[in-house]
Symmetry: C2
Amino acid sequence: MRNFIIVGHKAATSPNFSLEDIPGTSGRLDILCRGITAAFVLSHGIRKDVWVYLVLLGGEVPKNICLKGETLRHLNPDERTTAALLKKALALEATSEWSMSTSGIFVRTGGLSRVLDDLKSVRMIYLREDGADIRSLGPGALAKDAAFILGDHTGMTPEEETMISEAGAEVVSLGPTSLHADHCVVLINNELDRIEKEESL
Amino acid sequence: MRNFIIVGHKAATSPNFSLEDIPGTSGRLDILCRGITAAFVLSHGIRKDVWVYLVLLGGEVPKNICLKGETLRHLNPDERTTAALLKKALALEATSEWSMSTSGIFVRTGGLSRVLDDLKSVRMIYLREDGADIRSLGPGALAKDAAFILGDHTGMTPEEETMISEAGAEVVSLGPTSLHADHCVVLINNELDRIEKEESL
């Protein structure tokens, strides 16, 4: 299973944003929407072996949204459709337990620490420019069950850096250029596709 | 210079599409919009060394749009802003010569053959699943001046395949999974970033 954790530091936790201006009204939920499509969307279908955890920190009470590939429905490759799905999830009354919004999409209250706690048995990899090159880890080094932690345009806070480090995450880089979260997700999926192919031969 | 050619077989050549439903009203211009942002957008800025050529085949008269990184303005990472820029370009009266719409964006009448002709002095690479692995080409093998040819969700027609082959394009693959054009662009940019870094050491 491939898990992607994407932290939206200003991302809306209420559905009161406009689909006509997602970047300007939702605390840059557009970044998370593109991360979601990068994680799931294939040329002909949806990746079933992916879960995406969003950490939305732009409201009074932080929220987590989890999207699970095996049951995910109604996801199209465009940004607006994805934002509409998140809007629906955010309109649900969130409690500390997961509630299902549409098929494969779940919401609860919680910040980054809860998600890290959920995934504590999984190999954690934090994407940062100064990490070890993902390609240098070698084919066997990336477990099939792994969680990849990505920030948004504002970068992680020192408290988050500590939390991620205490969760035992390795720091890994994708290349010499600083990229948006969704582009990072594309590169990780490609690396994992290649490793799975190699291991299946 | 990195050139990306993206063919939109049903893509609108008129500005009469809705920004509220880009996939449903524009002949999937959304695919091309995401290809554009994948080509240009960095975490903090725009890639200056990129040109994107769009081939729009969904109208009576085919059109080319060219976006040039060194002078490109008003491009944001979200899909809707990009679609609005294309809408402006398509509202211009296109002739067989390039006309500038907004800064760095140009439009003319023409199909794939005109773009291939413009780039005939450049190394051409056609992305297709059955090609040679891009990583097996080796660091020196990808010239800095290269043009990468990508299709949309419908794939190339036999006539286009012939045209591309006659233009001398090599067939290259990005990995074991069939991906959307924008994800392909992300992977190509990463490969070229790595090669440039290696060559600069």
